[in-house]
Each structure stands twice: as structure tokens, then as C-alpha cells.
Amino acid sequence: MSDSALKASPLSLSLFVWKNLWRRRLRTILTLFGIGMAIGAFVGLVGFSNAFESEWMRIYSSSGTDIAVIQQTFLNTSLSEAAGKTLRSLPLVENATPVIFNLMALTPDVNALAYGWKADSYEFDSMQILSGHRFQDGKPEVMLGDLLADQLKKKVGDTLEIQSSPFTVCAIYHAGSGLQADAVIMPLDQLQELSSLQGKVSTFDVRLKPTPVGESREHYLKRAQAEIEAALPGLRAVPAAERASNNQFVQLAHASAWGTSLIALLIGILGIANTMAMSVHERTREIGILRALGWNRKHVLLLIQLEAGVLGLGGGLFGLLFGWCALHILAALPQTASIVSTTLPAYLLAEALAVSVLAGLIAGALPAWHAARLSPVEALRYD
């Protein structure tokens, strides 16, 4: 026996697929990078927007708000402040506090969320004041989140100009959520004046009386929702858990994450399709040979689809790596560190791999169909 043949392994379709991809290593690797970038964008952006949503969730759950009352959307500051009185008089409501929030340009290059609260808001209960004291209603005072204070280099007693009005920094606070750590909180009336929205608020945060024994939490929330909406026609009462996903910032983040990923994915698919179309074209004669050797159309179709699928899978694995790197970079940047979590949920990884393999199969479909359709004799004559 020749010893050289001992190294041989049986040729299978999968080994053949591998050899075909390996034969054009450079092209294969470039294609993997293409689809990998797309999947990396998907993992990074969707991972980011999911983390963003859970940050919002944390704000709502830590402040003890059960229900938010809004006009239509969370970003409309069009609710009348007067509705607060009606709310507080409802039997299930323990407390209701008006809130404005808005994205504001504090300095030419620092944007921050600005919250307008009443000085007696129950939401202060869950907040830790590091230095200074709570503001008083009607005074031009602001409280800064610790992250934002660092960024602006302000301490208690300093003056901060917001839209050319001077505000005194009265406190620095620490918040559990990165979104609040990066924000300013000021008296509701001051923010109304700044944004020319006197008498208007964005939401009422409502804290309910304790759930009666024997009633389920969901049922109680439903009942409270109905009671509030009946008392204030035209307004919506949204449970806190739903509020995070309904939040327009979150929706915008999701939409741009998915939108960007889809565009990247489309480019990745075109990359694989181009690679496979070229490779089928170059191998026209080989496909003729395979047909002459008894391969039927299905075998040829399978060969090309498998090659494309393997490109998709490989690209997906590359993409997970890229996405992981991207999240770690975002987590290290001061601007995004507070919101980004570097842990990726397993379902997102599985989803990314599935999307990638699917992308490969879609991209391979047309070249595979073309290859399978070739007539053996025509393909053999091709040069």
C-alpha cells in the first residue's frame, strides 16, 4: 500500500464545498468580511438599542412609578398641568407628579436630557444627592447627574447657562441609570418657561395605592388604567413596563438599529451573490464535468447553495466577533459607556447567525439556479 493514500479522507459533498471555498481563499475571506461587517453592525446596533431600552426600564422601575399618563406620545409636551388635580383625587391613585422631559443643548457640544420635576416629587425618594440640596420650585436652580457634572466640570454653587439664562447648580446626584446620570433636573416651572410651554407637561408619573390582597398585579393595573382614562378622556394611561418600549427615543433607537443593519445586510447579501455568481461563471466547465459524471441538477444546486450557506455561516461568526468588539469599544467611550452593556443575550447571537446563514442562502439562490440550469454539453464546450 502506498503510505501517501493513508492521509486521504473520503470525499464528501461538504469536503468538496470546503475545498472549493479554500481554493479562492482571498475572495472567500473578503466575502466573509463583507457579510461579517453586516452581522457585526446588526449585533452591535441591536444590542445597543436593546440595552438602551432596558436603561429606560430601569428609570421607571427604580422611581416607583406604576403608570404614566400621556397625551399621545411621550415626547409631546401638551398635557395640561391642571389634570394633576383630577388624577390625585382618584381613589386608586396615591400620588401623581407632573414631569417634562426634553433633549437640550446645554453647551454647543453637550446635549443632555433635561427633566422638569416639582420639588415635592416622590421621584426624589429613589435618588441619592451627593452634594448640595434639592432645588426649590420657582428658582433658577438645576441638579446635575454625576456623569454630566464631570463632563461639564461643574460643582455645587457654579453657574450653568442654559439657553442664555443663568442657573445655579444646587446639587449633584447619583442615579442608578446611565440615562439619568447624564441628565439635568430642574424645577418644572423653569423648564416650562425655557421651552415656552407654560402650564403644559409631558407626562404625569403615577404611583398607585398598594395592590389589594387577593387581586393580581396585572388586574389591578388594568383597573387603574381604566379608572384614569375614564376620568381624563383623551389621555392614555401606560403601565411603566410598556412605557420603556413605547418611548420614542427607544423606538427611534430600535428603528435606526434595524434600518442600518438591514442596509448593511443587503450589501452583505450582494457581496455573497457576487462572489457566488463569479465562482459559478468561472466553474462553468467544471459544472459540465460534474454533470457528465452523473451529477444531477439537484446536486449542482446543493453544491452552490452549500457554498453560499457556508459563506453566510462563516460571515455570521466573523460578525459576532465584530459586534462584540464594537460593543466593547462603545463601552469604553465616555459618551456611551453609561448606556452600553457588553453582555449579548444568547437569543441575539442565535438570531444573528440565523440571519447570516439565511442571507447566504438567499444570495446563493440565483447563482445556484443558474448553475443547475446549465446544459452539460454547453458547459463542457465552454472556455
Binding site: S4, A5, A8, F16, K19, L293, W295, P376, L380
Partner: protein, 221 residues
């Protein structure tokens, strides 16, 4: 008389919507185990004829019968090519990215030959071709004669009854030519295969049981 292994009945083949008539009514019957040589001028339709016999293409009219069953209707062409016929080409047509032993296994992927049998079969065939020291070599590492021997091993991979060779020695020098013919005739005798060779060399034609002369898409009387 035994029934023919292969039979052409009134086979016509035209290209370009009838402008080119490659075959103009061919009737040939080939008995099992027969060695037939086909000669004729360039462009007379020899390769076209072989493609019909090998199920690579279908006639424009007329029919090709394998053991009295019409190819393309009673017999599935893919199955026929994979199980009943082996093809050898002038240009060898080995896949450049696969080593000799992998090339020989290619036809076995389309049948349900077990994975481990594939390797053993390919090894035996290459040994039979005197290539036991060349199994892991790639086509570009082999001489022309060696390549054609790999191609013969590949044609035998699924143990067909019929071997079709289109100018198998056309790219070889006289020494290698003689060697290849020796192998082909040896196989045909040993396995009782039906062998059809298209050739330009009269010497080869004289070794055959029957010599068919072709001209203008017809068998010359």
C-alpha cells in the same frame, strides 16, 4: 443475436434552429462487450454522436436506446450517466483543485455509495491504473499520461457497463497513447465492457471489433 447494449435509431441533431445539422440520420446498434472505433473528418459529428450515446445531450429527432429502453423517456439521463456509462475526454477534464483520489471519488457523491467504500474503491482503481504512488497528487503535478489514467479510473468509479472515450489519446505522445490504449482494451476485455472510442488514429481503429467511418453527420457506407 443478443439485444444491443446501445442503439441509435434515426438520430438527427441540429443546432442553431436547424442551420447546422451535426447528425443527419444515424442508425447504429452496439452489442454488449463490443469495442467500436469511430473515425471521421473534423466536424463530421463524432463528438455529437458520443454525447448522444452518453446521455449528455438529446437528439433533435430519433431515439437512443440503452438495453432497449429509450434514454430521456424510459431511462433518466442523470441516472444513466451516473450508473451505466463512463466518459473519457481528450482534455482529461480533471478538477484542478482535487487530488487524484478525490477526482476519482467525484462520481460517487451522486450515488449512495458509502463514504468509506468511496475511498477504498478509488484506491483500488488508481492502483489498477498503476498510480498507487500518485494518489495525493494534484492534476498539475501529473504527466499527461497519468492524468488520463486518473480520468479512466474516474470513469470506472461507479462500475458502468459502457465506456465512451472522445479522442482519449489526442493530447498524448505515441508512448503514452499506446499505454492508454493498452489499459482501455485491458479493461474492456477484463470487465466485458462495451467500449466506444472516437479517434483520428487508424491504428487504434484497427484494434477495434468494428470500425465506423463517419462523414457529414452520417455513417459512411
Amino acid at each position: 443475436m443478443t439485444s444491443p447494449a446501445l442503439e441509435l435509431r434515426g438520430v438527427h441533431k441540429s443546432y442553431d434552429e436547424g442551420r447546422i445539422e451535426a447528425l443527419r440520420g444515424v442508425d447504429i446498434a452496439i452489442t454488449p462487450g463490443e469495442f467500436v472505433a469511430i473515425t471521421g473528418p473534423s466536424g463530421s459529428g463524432k463528438s455529437t454522436l458520443l454525447h448522444m450515446l452518453g446521455g449528455l445531450d438529446s437528439p433533435t429527432s430519433g431515439e437512443v436506446l440503452f438495453k432497449n429502453a429509450a434514454l430521456g423517456t424510459s431511462v433518466d439521463l442523470d441516472t444513466y450517466r451516473s450508473q451505466d456509462v463512463g466518459f473519457i475526454f481528450q482534455a482529461f477534464h480533471l478538477l484542478p483543485t482535487l487530488c487524484a483520489i478525490d477526482n476519482v471519488q467525484l462520481p460517487m457523491i451522486s450515488t449512495n455509495c458509502k463514504r468509506n467504500d468511496r475511498l477504498a474503491r478509488a484506491k483500488n482503481l488508481l492502483e489498477e491504473m498503476g498510480l498507487s504512488q500518485r494518489m495525493m497528487h494534484y492534476p498539475n503535478q501529473l504527466s499527461a499520461g497519468e492524468r488520463q489514467r486518473v480520468a479512466i479510473a474516474r470513469a470506472l468509479a461507479n462500475d458502468p457497463e459502457i465506456l465512451l472515450a472522445d479522442e482519449p489519446t489526442g493530447n498524448l505522445d505515441s508512448v503514452n497513447s499506446a499505454h492508454i490504449m493498452e489499459i482501455l482494451i485491458g479493461i474492456q476485455k477484463k470487465r466485458g465492457m462495451t467500449l466506444v472510442i472516437v479517434t483520428h488514429e487508424l491504428e487504434i481503429a484497427h484494434m477495434a471489433n468494428r470500425h465506423i467511418r463517419f462523414r457529414d453527420g452520417r455513417v459512411e457506407a
